[in-house]
């Protein structure tokens, strides 16, 4: 086979594109250590903004709130998304399957303002009719995030489900396994990597959402993106630079671990037996 190489133009575009993606983040990281408030002035190395960040009660409680919501939303989204993925890939002749698959993929391309507005109107109407939710807050954000995160989970899991060899499941069923037991003993371990990556994706999406949460939240629940948004609206803030650096560091560590793990799995697969 002839090895096809990328032409020079596309290679240099890749380099420039990566610079474009990463330079702004490098700028944030560098300026989080700047002791001056201004971006244009470098007044020496300092970690005082990190101290200020950890003394900021409002940011800390918002972080805790966001992490809890993201955890619950991601867990529920994995359950719902996996069920949807099952229906899409396995129940080819079921009535209502097309409607379900349309409803599950629609949030992928729905503008956030519309999703947020529509869910808020639903919660207001529900409060009028059945008296719940009395106060919008964590529970309503959880429902909203679960709904849009399920879509992403369904895409990830259904891609994996399609590669699963059905004969093993059929063998288990033939040998007297109930469908439920077959799922837990055979299917679940096979699709586990997809569930993990779906969960992580849902977790980051929920953690990151500002628009939908702003619509469906009440006075009691302030998530991290809301706090960040209200402070950056006023302009550049060094504490937010410090927060950004911590987020980028955490994500980089996780990405590096994922890369290491995937490379090891690949090597093990290629190793001659």
């Amino acid at each position: 086979m002839v090895k096809l190489k990328a032409p020079g133009f596309s290679k240099s575009m890749l380099l420039l594109g990566m610079l474009f993606l990463y330079l702004p983040m490098v700028v944030l990281i560098v300026y989080s250590f700047n002791s001056s408030r201004l971006v244009s002035v470098w007044a020496g190395f300092s970690t005082k903004w990190y101290g200020a960040l950890f003394a900021n009660e409002q940011i800390l409680s918002a972080v805790w709130m966001s992490l809890r919501i993201a955890f619950y939303s991601a867990s529920m989204a994995v359950c719902l998304g996996t069920l949807c993925a099952f229906v899409i890939t396995r129940f080819k002749k079921m009535r209502g399957r097309t409607l379900l698959s349309s409803m599950i993929t629609a949030p992928l391309v729905m503008p956030e303002v519309i999703t947020g507005l529509s869910l808020l109107l639903l919660f207001v109407q529900m409060a009028q009719l059945i008296g719940w939710p009395v106060d919008r807050g964590m529970a309503t954000i959880w429902i909203a995030h679960t709904t849009f995160c399920s879509a992403y989970v369904a895409v990830v899991v259904s891609a994996r489900l399609r590669e699963v060899d059905l004969s093993i499941e059929e063998a288990a069923m033939d040998l007297g396994c109930t469908p439920l037991k077959t799922f837990f003993v055979i299917t679940l371990p096979v699709i586990a990597p997809a569930l993990v990556s779906g969960w992580l994706l849902a977790f980051t999406l929920s953690l990151d959402d500002l628009v939908i949460a702003s619509f469906v939240s009440g006075p009691g629940a302030t998530t991290l993106p809301m706090v960040v948004f209200s402070s950056v609206r006023m302009g550049v803030s060094p504490e937010i630079n410090a927060l950004a650096t911590l987020i980028i560091a955490a994500v980089s560590v996780i990405a590096f671990m994922a890369w290491f793990w995937m490379r090891r799995a690949e090597k093990r697969r290629l190793r001659p037996r």
């Binding site: 096809l4 596309s10 594109g17 993606l21 702004p24 303002v113 980028i248």
Partner: protein, 309 residues
């Protein structure tokens, strides 16, 4: 084993399978019906009411007074949107901005995806992670990063003045240029990934055959690679264009007073003016506007999901 098989009669097994299938289908279906489809019906309903000073701030559509059901449908909001040039300008501004941003994403993203797909296997994984990593960090913070770079006292202006290229700071932040730049920056990974997945599956033998038959590399690209990657280009463009039309955060942080985008107008209508009916009708018109791209993308997605199925 045989004992267990005999203990569960066939009919009972079939019933168990049918029951499980119903649960697997019913739970997500009910959830999505309640939390996805019903809310849209409500947006449509409330777009047909008029605003009042009350909680919730709109008139009911159906009213039951003295044994009479009266249905009040108000098309005033839509007429209002059509008559006020602000809203038309906002829709046009959104579509124009989103189109330009999608075009730039494609021009930058396609060559990047091409180089990634042609890179050695172990490098592909690294590049893939590098493209995806920014989208795992906070969207808000990545947009915010540009505020520090583009501002009058920002990094770029300071740098250009230091070079002596300009004497006074260029106004870059709070312009439409900044909005397009922000959208390109934030959504570039969504353009690269579908094109990359498409290009990496491309049958290399086709390109070899073309070069064996004396095709020049640029001709091969136009005649073979580009048409075959059409699906990826389409998917990437939809993934950038649709959310960009409704974008709120980027025009709010990077745009100026003359940046008119519909996501921002809807937000202000809802949160600042508390006019829920007008906000709802803005959402309905936006959906109608996006219907064609959404259906296009949805058909693409369905085809992808059906493949190898």
């Amino acid at each position: 084993m045989t004992k267990k098989l005999l203990a569960t009669p066939f009919a009972e097994r079939v019933r168990a399978v049918v029951f499980h299938r119903r649960v697997v289908f019913g739970v997500p279906f009910a959830w999505l019906l309640l939390f996805f489809l019903l809310p849209f019906a409500l947006v449509l309903k409330i777009s047909l009411t008029s605003a009042v000073m009350a909680i919730p701030p709109y008139e009911p559509v159906f009213r039951w007074v003295e044994n009479t059901l009266s249905v009040v449908v108000n098309f005033g909001n839509y007429l209002f949107l059509a008559s006020d040039s602000l809203y038309i300008a906002a829709y046009w501004g959104s579509v124009k901005t989103a189109f330009l941003a999608t075009l730039f994403c494609l021009l930058i993203g396609y060559p990047m995806a091409y180089a990634m797909a042609r890179a050695p296997k172990h490098w592909q994984l690294v590049f893939l992670l590098m493209v995806m990593l920014p989208s795992w960090t906070s969207f808000l913070i990545r947009v915010y990063a540009w505020m520090g770079i583009l501002g009058n006292q920002g990094l770029l202006n300071t740098f250009l003045m230091w070079l002596g290229l300009i004497d006074a700071p260029l106004k870059m932040l709070n312009t439409n240029f900044a909005v397009i730049l922000g959208i390109v920056y934030a959504y570039l990974p969504f353009m690269i990934l579908p094109i990359y997945t498409n290009l990496v599956k491309l049958d290399v033998r086709l390109l070899e055959a073309a070069s064996d038959l004396g095709c020049r590399s640029l001709t091969t690209f136009w005649a073979i690679t580009l048409p075959l990657s059409k699906a990826g280009i389409l998917a990437g463009s939809m993934l950038v264009f649709i959310p960009a039309v409704g974008e709120f955060v980027i025009p709010e942080l990077l745009g100026g007073p003359d940046t008119l985008m519909i996501g921002k107008v809807l937000w202000e209508e809802f949160f600042n003016n508390r006019d829920w009916p007008v906000a709802s009708s803005l959402a309905i018109v936006m959906l109608a506007l996006l219907l064609i791209p959404i259906v296009l993308f949805h058909r693409f997605q369905a085809r992808e999901m059906e493949k190898n199925g």
